[in-house]
Symmetry: C2
Subunit: 497 residues, 2 copies
């Protein structure tokens, strides 16, 4: 290894270590920290964030990047240099005062948004949203883009993604899903979702969530499950320390069961990144869309399949005999797959979920082309919800104020959720083809071959391939909506007949 | 405030923040981290330790210290500058390769010590101990000292302490305590310690430990109790986040009850440091001896007093009716104050504990003057134990290999334990005089006045005064053994008649 590249790699690893310490500060704050620790925590986070920016954006990093020599055949070095340069340039191009202004405004905006949402008062949030769109437009201009400012923002979360391409994909998806949703909603036979809102004592949910994590082969020597207000997964120590959280509500079984399957799906991706490259881009997830594909694959494609519950339903009934003793496997399976146009994204079913995303994608994009004014967001939101999902929000609390993302400046994040669903379907179809009779393996609880397949084909590559290339490489085809449509059609026609 | 001093203070605060992040890494490792996170954790700690050393010992800090101007009347600035310069100089004087060599050797030594202790094989540990004494002698020489190398090492933990002074104090203490121990051991009436080894279910110990912490007014909005192999207290977020740990053994009530009183005593000190000076020397403990005085005051002077259990014993009996239902308050009080010469320091009673420390102090000192060779440590240990404590260790596992301190290079740490006991006695005697009828307050559970007194007289000063000055300032007298001897004589003569 050339010494120049070795120096760069040392710095890159230090950056990874620093960022993982920040992850611990965040995890601790959400899960463990006593309330009065908040002032010190803010100072600790600010110190490390400042250092991180200095190390990433500074001249020293530029010198290391410009000076790093490595053999043309050294693919690992090429990936680490490429991805570090990408982050360096994104970071170095944005002026420090703009970064600080955004940090200030989002701190304020989050408070304003909470109040606006709670009182369903969009006018209260509108000036902040205007300000944030303006600031993020300046960020996009500083970073640069080929087509439209929104693309530079999406690129933060889904490197290399093209907005026009996403638009075509979402449009094809909508065209294919809409008639399916219509048929499902016309079906006479409706699932009884109320069984999931019976009484499920917390401590038994805790034990069952742990069992679900074990069923997915989550390694508790390399992770933990804790409780937090909003479930998340975070990597604190590379391949050896990836933690998830969930929440337990006595009258909501889905929240903990599918929440844990989702977060453990994220964790399995992080745990499958190559240990020998810890703290470098080769051991980082390649995009949020690919990350979400892993969580949704385990949550939905496996976790909501009939085969999975053929394996685990008896155990679930034993855990909650009062609530589920008289509920058949079929009724349970239908309940966890109920399709119902609804107002809230995070509660949406597999079929309508992507339509919620399309609403947000179209609105974000229009805000940054200038085609949509901030004051017109609620109207546009409600019109699109009615047209795409089939329900009209009665207020902005359950409409355009429901998500935290804009208040923290995360524009361009939403599309990665729907892309994740599509990647998941395309990967899963290929895994089924490669692994032979996957359904009967799932029925036996034998999930190891699927995990091995995911590690081999997806996890171990880290950032070696951009999302679009990874999909092509793994499945032999570019991303398309067809695998998802095939999966959804077959699944929901069987459930709804 | 002069701009030059302001810049220094910014740097000092950043150092404090960095060090508090390291405290979180340590806490998490002991309490939360999954086993396989250890490799990443070692790298994270090494990164921050390196940064800390660079910031503290580097030329930039020297420039800031040399350039800092402040008004002669600004006592706060003088303290912060004095204490920061002290740390800077200690740190800058020790060559980097020596620091790294010690880090390497102690990592090895800890493993070697564990094995040597478990097999009671001093010869296995001796070469490491020789190496560490040699390295630490070089550290002492680099730092500088007036009298003997050991003084520079003690100074790390008890700034300003003089070895000859400690020797005089320990010798006076031994002379006064020895006849008392003799009288106590001659007493006919022996406490029945076996009642503390009955069955105390863990979950009820957890609840009772929490109640004890509340009784001492530990604020759970600024702290937590968790479980770890070795109990400790750590400050993660200044006045707002000070956490303690303990351990629960079903057949050992003392371990959790007095363990929690001890650690909460430490925590109350940290929580009483002035919030407005967070992350500066004015909000740091002034010495380990003073720290220990706070833990021992709450654990022993309060927690093992008859008045404390007059207040809490009924509650303890309700928590453990099977074990304590038929045990009188008197018998319980005697059991938790049983005096018995024993081999293990951490299990020693209040009277003989300080004699264990004297053994270690004399041996450490002799190792660094060269009067004692490493190979002669076991013999010296056993001879001193027999002469001072009255028992001769049958093997080195229960003799000179019992403590971890030497294996981690912490020479000069032991004396702070006994100094803590003496400071505690002198402070407590003064608090009793100032507060009037403290015993009847304790009996009523009214501990607030004592905590207020400690905050006012000790906690709020941070590092404003060195330990010896603080004692003189608070009690009007230099440190002496008399308050401890008065306390111990009165207490144990009452118990043993």
């Amino acid at each position: 290894m050339h010494e120049t590249y070795h120096k760069l790699l040392d710095r890159v690893r230090d950056l990874g270590r620093l960022s993982s310490v920040k992850a611990l500060l965040d995890w601790d704050q959400e899960v463990m920290m006593p309330a009065r620790g908040v002032e010190a925590r803010a100072q600790q986070v600010a110190l490390l964030a400042g250092l991180e920016h200095e190390w990433l954006a500074g001249d020293e990093m530029k010198r290391l990047l410009d000076g790093a020599k490595f053999d043309a055949s050294d693919e690992d070095a090429a990936v680490n240099a490429r991805e570090t340069r990408r982050l360096h340039e994104r970071s170095a191009r944005v002026p420090k005062d703009l970064v600080e202004e955004i940090a200030r405004q989002t701190t304020l905006a989050r408070e304003v948004w909470v109040k606006a949402r709670d009182t369903s008062d969009f006018a209260h949030f509108a000036p902040m949203l205007t300000k944030l769109v303006e600031l993020k437009t300046r960020v996009a201009q500083a970073i640069g883009f080929e087509t439209e400012p929104y693309e530079a923002l999406v690129d933060e979360f889904e490197p290399g993604a093209r907005v026009a391409e996403i638009e075509r994909t979402f449009s094809a998806l909508r065209d294919a899903v809409a008639p399916l949703v219509k048929r499902v909603l016309a079906a006479k036979r409706r699932p009884d979702e109320s069984i999931l809102a019976r009484t499920f004592p917390k401590e038994r949910q805790v034990a069952f969530a742990r069992r679900m994590a074990e069923a997915l082969r989550y390694d508790f020597d390399a992770g933990r499950i804790d409780v937090s207000a909003h479930p998340f997964c975070t990597t604190i120590g590379g391949y050896g320390d990836v933690r998830v959280t969930t929440r337990y509500h006595e009258n909501n079984l889905s929240s903990s069961v599918f929440g844990i399957l989702h977060e453990v799906g994220h964790a399995l991706y992080e745990l499958g990144l190559p240990a020998e490259h810890m703290f470098t881009p080769l051991a980082q997830p390649t995009s949020l869309g690919i990350h979400e594909s892993q969580s949704r694959l385990w949550e939905n494609f496996i976790g909501r399949s009939r085969e999975f519950w053929e394996c685990h339903y008896a155990e679930l009934q034993r855990a909650f005999p009062e609530a589920l003793g008289n509920v058949s496997l079929d009724d349970f399976h239908r309940a966890v797959n109920a399709v119902r146009p609804s107002l809230i994204r995070v509660e949406a079913d597999e079929l309508t979920y992507n339509l919620h995303i399309t609403v947000r994608f179209e609105i974000e994009r229009a805000l940054f082309t200038g085609a949509l004014a901030v004051r017109d967001v609620p109207g546009a939101w409600n019109e699109k919800m009615e047209r795409l999902v089939g329900v009209r929000p009665p207020d902005d609390r359950r409409g355009c104020l429901q998500d935290i993302h804009w208040s923290i400046g995360a524009f361009g994040y939403f599309p990665t959720y729907a892309l994740g669903n599509l990647y998941a379907a395309q990967f899963y179809e290929k895994a089924c083809a490669d692994l032979g009779d996957l359904p009967s393996r799932i029925r036996r609880g034998d999930l190891a071959p699927l995990l091995t397949w995911l590690r081999e084909n997806i996890h171990r590559h880290g950032q070696r391939y951009r999302a679009a290339d990874l999909v092509r490489r793994v499945t032999g085809k570019p991303l398309s909506v067809e695998p998802f449509v095939r999966y959804a059609t077959s699944k929901f026609e069987a459930i709804y007949r």
